[in-house]
Each structure stands twice: as structure tokens, then as C-alpha cells.
């Protein structure tokens, strides 16, 4: 009896260590299961072509999930990521149009887009960290403001993106779709960021603000830094939305905000801060995408699809939260 219990305890211990080091394992497991299920219901869905389509469509959500993760690191939340993405989307579309739509004007517009995202992040960081407003309500208020700004820039959806832009995003280079280069670049960027001091400091602040402050960390600056990082990644997400939809829409990102929060949690990060990985959030964004396509491939009647998707995402959240807690308890 004793030996049995000891061995289970050791197994638990091993499982915990594994989860502690790779908190995104539950999400990865769900991802693999979903891929297999997708393959069973529609063998074509595992083709290179379909997977490219999946990544192209959900690249924006992956980036928004990453954006949200950096704020959640510090135990904050940003309900304005979708609005920032909308604002950047209309800004770059209008600029590209006004500047003639050539290659250089596209690059210049993208540069401005990043700056817009950064500025939005600064505003959020200022009201939450410097003015000490409650993050949920404050970023909701800024999201209303950003949406208003987006509506000033482009009152109605519809202005098209220059051909060169969406052709590049949907195109293939040396036999490999562009989005995969983007994904590799993103992975490299995230790898570098994980090694920066800011990432560690955000986690430290999320673990305990007072403790972080007393050990000499510039807490307010760090929290603002988290929001700025979030704004920049939301801008990158807007680039993908623009590439995917090839048009401007002042409300395009609104629905994605809450999905980004769901992805962060599903990816194994703690909303209470101090613990998480961006890899988990990226995987979770793909899970949400795969759930949507699985519900479609499984032949669900069209008006039941949203309901089944909602249930599946809720179930995935429950499994994710339960398993990752076992790793940390």
C-alpha cells in the first residue's frame, strides 16, 4: 500500500514539475485532440492548404492573445485591445490610400500603425497605473474613446486595402505561405521578449505589487510598459486583420477582445497575475480557431454552430483551468 501511494505521489510530483515548466501543456494536448478530430471529420482539413488558411485567419487572434498576456502577467486586464486593433486597421488603410498604395507608402503606414498602437498602450498604462483607476472599467472607457477615434478616421466599413498589401499577406514565397514566415518571426520575437527584463519584471509585479515595489522595482513604469507592449502587439494583430479582410472597418476588432482574454486563460496563464506563457496563449488562439472549424466540419446545422462553439470553448476553458491548477496547487 505504502509503495503504491508513494509512486502516485511521485507521478503527481513529476506531472507538476512538468506543468510548472511548461504551463501550456494542457492547451497543447487539447490542440492535438482537436487536430485529430478535425482530421477525422474532414481529412482535407489537415492538408497544408487548410492549415495555412487556419493560421492566416487566426494569426490576428494569436497576436491579440499575446498582447493580452503581457498585461495579464502584471495582474491587469485590457478590454481595449479589440478597439486598438480597429483603430490601427482604419488608420493604416486610410494612410495607404492617401499615400498612393505603393510599397513604400504601405511600409510607412505600417510604421505609423505601430506608433498608434504604442500611443494607445501609453494612454491605457497612464490611466491604470499612474492614475490608479480600476483596469476593467478604465480600459473599457478607453476602448469607447478609441472606437470613437476609429469612427472619425473611417466612418463606415469598406475602404479597400492596396493590392500589394493583401497579396503579400495571402501570398507564397519560395513555396512557403507568407503567414508562416510571419509566424516564425513572431516566435523569434516572443522568444527574445521572454528574455527581456520587462517580461520578468511584469511577472514580478503580478506576483505582488507591494513586494515588487519594496524590492526597488519601478512598479508604475513597469505596468505602463506592459500596456505599451500590449498596444504594439494589438497593432501587429491589426496588420493581420487588414491582410485577411483586405479592407477597413472601424468596428472589426470589437468582438475579439473577449476571445483574447479567453485565450490567455485557456493558455494556462493566471488572471491573478505573476504566472503564464505567451506560447500558451498562441496555442489557445489556435484552439479557438480549430473549435470553430471542427463545429463546421462536424456538420452542425448552421444556426446551432454558435451555440456549440460557445459550449466547446467553455468546456475547453474548464479543462484548461482544472488541469493547470493541478500543476500549481
Amino acid at each position: 500500500m505504502t509503495s503504491v501511494s508513494t509512486s502516485t505521489r511521485q507521478e503527481n510530483q513529476g506531472f507538476r514539475t512538468l506543468l510548472g515548466r511548461f504551463p501550456f501543456l494542457p492547451a497543447l494536448f487539447i490542440l492535438v485532440v482537436l487536430l485529430v478530430l478535425n482530421g477525422i471529420f474532414e481529412p482535407n482539413s489537415l492538408s497544408f492548404r487548410s492549415l495555412t488558411g487556419l493560421v492566416r485567419t487566426y494569426m490576428a487572434l494569436m497576436l491579440l492573445a499575446v498582447a493580452q498576456t503581457y498585461v495579464v502577467y502584471a495582474a491587469e486586464i485590457d478590454l481595449s485591445v479589440g478597439a486598438i486593433a480597429s483603430l490601427v486597421n482604419v488608420t493604416i488603410i486610410v494612410l495607404m490610400q492617401n499615400w498612393g498604395g505603393g510599397g513604400l507608402s504601405v511600409l510607412a503606414a505600417l510604421g505609423v500603425g505601430v506608433l498608434v498602437g504604442l500611443a494607445c498602450g501609453l494612454v491605457n498604462g497612464f490611466v491604470v497605473a499612474a492614475l490608479r483607476l480600476q483596469a476593467i472599467v478604465a480600459t473599457f472607457a478607453t476602448s469607447i474613446f478609441f472606437t470613437g477615434l476609429a469612427l472619425v478616421i473611417l466612418p463606415v466599413a469598406g475602404m479597400p486595402a492596396p493590392t500589394v498589401f493583401w497579396r503579400t499577406y495571402g501570398g507564397t514565397f519560395f513555396g512557403i505561405p507568407f503567414v508562416f514566415y510571419a509566424a516564425v518571426a513572431l516566435a523569434f520575437l516572443l522568444y527574445l521578449f521572454a528574455r527581456t527584463r520587462l517580461a520578468t519584471q511584469l511577472l514580478a509585479v503580478g506576483d505582488g505589487q507591494q513586494a515588487a515595489f519594496q524590492s526597488g522595482l519601478p512598479v508604475t513604469t513597469i505596468r505602463i510598459g506592459g500596456y505599451v507592449l500590449c498596444g504594439v502587439f494589438a497593432a501587429l494583430a491589426a496588420f493581420c486583420i487588414t491582410g485577411d479582410t483586405a479592407s477597413g472597418d472601424p468596428l472589426v476588432g470589437a468582438k475579439m477582445t473577449l476571445f483574447s482574454v479567453a485565450a490567455v486563460v485557456l493558455g494556462g496563464s493566471a488572471l491573478s497575475g505573476g504566472f503564464g506563457t505567451v506560447a500558451g496563449s498562441v496555442i489557445a488562439a489556435l484552439i479557438i480557431g480549430l473549435i470553430n472549424s471542427l463545429v463546421f466540419f462536424a456538420g452542425t446545422p448552421s444556426h446551432w454552430q454558435n451555440f456549440v462553439q460557445g459550449l466547446a470553448i467553455l468546456a475547453a476553458l474548464m479543462v484548461g483551468v482544472l488541469v493547470s491548477r493541478r500543476g500549481r496547487a
Partner: protein, 318 residues
């Protein structure tokens, strides 16, 4: 002096002063803004928001990051359920009320079970539930044509009934009294504050933390469902996602009312004033002659400025 500052920092007082100032401003910008009929209309809209905010208030008071993002979905679903059950006939109202309350309680129960038994953060649990509810709305709208409000329900919400006030305002006053009674005169109410300020200590003292938290989510669902029923009476027929506009405003009304999102402190009187403040603010923005985009920007900035008045987080040096 300190006492004066303390009084000046009372959220209820701030909200009332701001409401008066906004009404004055509105009336200057557009004469007739603060007329009796207009104020009554504002109060009806505020009552709808205020009833949703009552449930939100309870969940937030219970602490542990309590929040209910699914209220908007419950409001929409309840409006559709009520419309289909009564289908324009007064005789169907009692059954519609029953169906709405049951719907709200059921989804609240799911939320509560997820939060307590599975220990899923409320934000995530209710967010997932919102997704499910939105899907359910699509299913229902495909299957059955949305129903209409019964005449008696519409009259209850819009026609003056007693002392010149329509029934819904009396209902809201009733909700206010009920909330005050629950929060300050019952054991249940004291326990809500206890688990909101220190769950561990409350548990040690023998408070059934889980059952109370489940009850709070169920009450939140029921209040949202009742608001959905009244909303049907206000708009005549139910349409898609009418409730979405209540999700975050219900949280803001609570915050404006002096209940911090960390829970354990505050009450409902302030929330009622917060709901009125929010509705008056939105109404002023519709009155002044700027387009939708400008209105949104002004609204966002005003919310931020107003929040500076209300319980900011403590500084690290404090």
C-alpha cells in the same frame, strides 16, 4: 476638516451632485432637457440598467474577483423567452415571469457552480457563459419568430401608475428596498460582506462560502432576467442582442456607486445613483449636436474623468 473631506468623498453624494450638474448642463444646452417628462423617461431607462446592476452589485460585493459578464446575454435571452411565452397576450404574463426567473436562476446556477466547484475565475466562467448564451440566441431566433410584449407589460413600464410614476420605477424602488434589507438586515447580507472582505476568515467562522457565492450568481441571473422582461415591455418586441449594452455599464454603475471591484465594501444605494448618472450622461451626449464618433470619444473621456472621483487604488507608498 478631515470629516468634511470624508463626506465630500462619499460616492453617493458625488453621484447626486454630478447628476444635478449634468441635468443643469443639459437644460442649458437644450431647454426642456430637465423637464418632468424627460426626467421620467431617463428614470425608466435607468431603472432597466439599475435592476441589472443590482445583481452585478451582489456578485462584486462577494469578492474574489467576482464579476458577471453574462448579464447581457441573460437580458437578451429573457426578453426573447418572455416575448415568445406571452406573445402579445396579457394572460401569458404570469407564465412569462416564471419562465424568465427560471432562466436567469438556471444560468446563474451554472455560473455559480463553475466558479465554486471548478474554481474557474468568475471573469472567465461568465465570459464563457456569455458565448453560450449568444449561441443560444441564434438558435432561438432561427427556430421561432420573436414574440411581442403584452399590452399590460408595456403599460407597466411606460404608463404612469401611482403618484405619476410608472410601475417599473416602483419596481426599482422595491428592488432598492429589498437590496438594502438583504445587505444590512439579514444574516445573508452580513455574510456577503464577510466573504467579500476576507473569504478565508469567513470560512473559518463557519460561513457557507460556496452556497452564498452560488446564490449571488443566481440572484444576478434573476435580476438580469427581470430587466430583460421589462426591456421587452419598453421596446414592444424582442430583437437580437438587446442586452449587450448592459454588460459593462452595469459594472460601471456599481463602480460609480462606490463599490470597488475588489468587493467587501459598498452597497446598492450608490449603484442606483450610478445608474442614473450613466443614463443622464448618455442622454446629454445624444442631445448635443455632434456625430456618433465625437459622442463616443466624449463619453470615453468623461467616464475616465468621473472615475477619478471614485475610489482610486491605493498608492504604493501609502
Amino acid at each position: 476638516m478631515n470629516r468634511a473631506i470624508e463626506i465630500a468623498k462619499n460616492p453617493l453624494l458625488i453621484a447626486l451632485v454630478l447628476i444635478a450638474a449634468l441635468l443643469f448642463l443639459g437644460n442649458t444646452l437644450s431647454p426642456g432637457f430637465a423637464s418632468g417628462g424627460q426626467i421620467l423617461r431617463l428614470l425608466i431607462v435607468a431603472a432597466l440598467l439599475g435592476i441589472v446592476a443590482a445583481g452585478q452589485n451582489l456578485v462584486i460585493l462577494g469578492g474574489r474577483e467576482g464579476i458577471d459578464l453574462s448579464v447581457g446575454g441573460v437580458v437578451s435571452l429573457s426578453a426573447i423567452v418572455a416575448g415568445n411565452v406571452m406573445n402579445g397576450m396579457d394572460g401569458g404574463i404570469p407564465l412569462a415571469i416564471l419562465a424568465c426567473v427560471a432562466t436567469g436562476a438556471l444560468f446563474g446556477l451554472f455560473n455559480g457552480l463553475g466558479v465554486t466547484l471548478l474554481r474557474i475565475p468568475p471573469l472567465v466562467m461568465t465570459l464563457g457563459m456569455l458565448g453560450v448564451l449568444q449561441g443560444l440566441l441564434v438558435v432561438i431566433r432561427q427556430g421561432i419568430p420573436s414574440g411581442r410584449a403584452a399590452p399590460a407589460l408595456s403599460e407597466f413600464v411606460t404608463k404612469p401608475f401611482l403618484l405619476g410614476l410608472p410601475g417599473i420605477i416602483w419596481l426599482w424602488i422595491g428592488v432598492g428596498l429589498l437590496m438594502a434589507f438583504i445587505l444590512h438586515r439579514t444574516v445573508f447580507g452580513h455574510r456577503i460582506y464577510a466573504i467579500g472582505s476576507n473569504e478565508q476568515a469567513a470560512f473559518m467562522a463557519g460561513v457557507p462560502v460556496r452556497r452564498i457565492r452560488i446564490a449571488l450568481f443566481m440572484l444576478s441571473g434573476v435580476f438580469a432576467a427581470i430587466a430583460g422582461l421589462c426591456l421587452l415591455g419598453y421596446s414592444g418586441s424582442s430583437f437580437a442582442n438587446v442586452g449587450e449594452q448592459y454588460m459593462l455599464p452595469s459594472i460601471i454603475a456599481v463602480v460609480f456607486g462606490g463599490t470597488p471591484l475588489s468587493g467587501g465594501r459598498g452597497g446598492y444605494t450608490g449603484t442606483m445613483a450610478g445608474a442614473v448618472l450613466l443614463v443622464v450622461l448618455q442622454s446629454i451626449l445624444t442631445t448635443i449636436n455632434i456625430d456618433e464618433s465625437g459622442r463616443q470619444m466624449v463619453f470615453g473621456v468623461t467616464l475616465l474623468v468621473l472615475m477619478l472621483f471614485y475610489g482610486r487604488g491605493r498608492g504604493l507608498r501609502a
